[in-house]
């Protein structure tokens, strides 16, 4: 906890006050200098926007793609379903670092470096989300689906109007964990985004760290800003969050 308070305190210090001994836990002359600097020296407001846009899109796409796949695996009979599901699960063992270089090559060939697309698109394939949703959808009684069929509903209508509403608790959980994963992700956006105007907050912070390595007041201000949205989400969603992190903790 102390490091966190130290961060808040530092972010309100001027550059000179960083280097006073004994250290000041409560800044004697609190200033917003660091906050002003972080926004003027770097397109930081833009980084906040990028992070929001990317994390929200990433989450929405994950939910859509995963729930569709999960519906197919859980309720539609098709050839090789078990085999395919095993391939999906097995792919979880492949570390991101192995696919990083080839994916950089592919994205580069497609001209997608420094685009939002490159950062968001891996959301199409989040095995853990699929796995969790398969479990949920399997627990939905088939009678519900039969009833929908008798009423003349096609598969898509069934998926949208019967299955999805029953998955809301799981989806809420996944939304929070996926958003957080995407918001805090480092390695993938680090490789995909090199243009300051496209950077997400963690990449922006690591760039600032490279340039202003000793101006800790600026770095702490930036770090604090990057943490606030997640902490707010957590405090509001604490109840569902507690369970969700345990079940959603493995990265897909």
């Amino acid at each position: 906890m102390l490091p966190f308070l130290w961060m808040i305190s530092t972010s309100f210090k001027s550059r000179g006050a960083l280097m006073t001994l004994p250290i000041e836990w409560i800044p004697k002359n609190p200033t917003f200098d660091a906050y002003i600097k972080v926004f003027t020296r770097f397109p930081f407001a833009r980084a906040i926007g990028n992070s929001f846009f990317i994390a929200v899109s990433y989450t929405v796409l994950t939910i859509l793609s995963s729930s569709m796949a999960a519906f197919a695996f859980a309720k539609i009979k098709f050839p090789f379903a078990d085999g395919l599901f095993k391939v999906y699960l097995a792919s979880m063992m492949i570390p991101v670092q192995v696919t990083l270089i080839p994916l950089f090559v592919i994205m580069n060939k497609l001209g997608l470096i420094n685009t939002y697309t490159s950062v968001i698109s891996p959301s199409l394939f989040r095995v853990f989300a699929i796995f969790l949703l398969v479990q949920t959808i399997k627990s939905i009684p088939d009678d519900y689906l039969d009833a929908a069929k008798i009423d003349g509903a096609g598969l898509f209508t069934t998926y949208r109007q019967v299955v999805m509403p029953l998955c809301i608790p799981t989806i809420a959980t996944l939304c929070i964990t996926t958003f957080m994963d995407s918001w805090n992700d480092y390695l993938w956006p680090l490789v995909m985004l090199t243009d300051r105007n496209y950077m997400t907050l963690p990449i922006a912070l690591s760039t600032l760290n490279g340039q202003y390595a000793t101006e800790y007041n600026v770095l702490m201000a930036g770090s604090l800003i990057s943490m606030i949205p997640i902490i707010v989400v957590y405090i509001f969603a604490q109840k569902s969050f507690k369970g969700s992190l345990v079940s959603g903790g493995i990265k897909g």
Partner: protein
């Protein structure tokens, strides 16, 4: 009427539902893994043309990258650094997460505030956490050494010291991960039937005995899960290192992913980096399998 076991029978209608994730599987998993292995057999620098006709003739070098990695000293030095990290990190992390789980499992005023507080490190990004600790551990003006000096200890230069750089990385990792693993262990603790403790208390077992004979065995599935995840994470150690030490001083905190990233994107030795990443893959694969087997032998699943 034919009795259906479950599900809607339909041969082709699954296709549109599976298409997005299947595309993802191909693009983000299967295709890259094949390309990665292929690149690991080349000395490609990331720049030269990928035209297959010329490419094979110019760049194909068979298993030379692997030979170079496994016979050179760097790989084992980096592996040693990782093992050093693991030896310090896992016991510390386990002890603290057990402690946190135990504290969160009690009913007292302010327990929910305690939960939020232990959770802040988990919610923050690795980058923010690493920046905070870099400043905490700053040799002269950081709080770590200033607090040590109260007790008359003059603290080391932490990140600038070859000896203390890796322990510093361990420190931030424990700080960041303990809340998360504590939560997993907490849900394990909450799953233990209270009647075991009541029975043990009647038989005169003290709380220390209760911990060793009841809590630990019944918690073993959760502990085991934490162990697997944290071990795999340890081999993928990266952001902390990049932000806090950049692999230094003098290579003391170089680890596998840091090497893969540097070789691939800083030194443009994409072939070499790919081979390195395959060795990482092999290690993680072996670990997962080994632990799956061990799980059968010593994990106690409660009734």
């Amino acid at each position: 009427m034919e009795k259906r076991k479950n599900g809607l029978k339909n041969q082709t209608s699954a296709v549109p539902f599976l298409l997005p994730s299947f595309k993802g599987l191909i693009i983000f998993s299967l295709l890259p893994i094949v390309i990665s292995f292929f690149l690991s057999l080349t000395d490609w620098n990331g720049i030269d043309s990928l035209n297959l006709n010329v490419f094979l003739k110019d760049h194909f070098i068979g298993f030379q990258n692997y030979v170079k990695i496994l016979t050179g000293g760097e790989f084992f030095r980096v592996l040693g650094n990782t093992l050093y990290f693991i030896v310090l990190y896992i016991p510390l992390m386990l002890i603290f997460s057990l402690l946190i789980a135990w504290l969160m499992n009690k009913n007292y005023k302010g327990v929910s505030l305690f939960r939020i507080l232990t959770y802040i490190p988990v919610l923050s990004s690795w980058i923010a956490a690493s920046l905070i600790w870099k400043w905490v551990l700053a040799p002269k003006f950081g709080i770590a050494n200033n607090m040590l000096s109260i007790f008359g200890i003059s603290g080391p230069a932490w990140l600038q010291s070859e000896q203390w750089a890796m322990p510093s990385i361990v420190l931030v990792s424990v700080w960041k991960d303990t809340g998360f693993f504590g939560l997993i262990l907490l849900s394990g603790l909450q799953g233990i039937d209270k009647t075991y403790y009541e029975a043990a208390a009647i038989d005169g077992a003290n709380s220390w005995q209760q911990f060793w004979k009841i809590t630990l065995p019944l918690l073993s599935p959760s502990i085991f899960f934490v162990l697997i995840i944290s071990l795999i994470n340890s081999f993928q150690l990266f952001p902390q290192v990049m932000i806090m030490t950049d692999g230094g001083p003098n290579g003391a905190t170089q680890v596998m992913v840091e090497r893969i990233y540097k070789y691939g994107f800083k030194y443009y030795e994409m072939g070499y980096a790919s081979a390195f990443s395959w060795l990482l893959f092999v290690i993680i694969f072996a670990l997962t399998n080994l632990q799956m087997k061990m799980q059968k032998n010593w994990v106690h699943y409660g009734a």
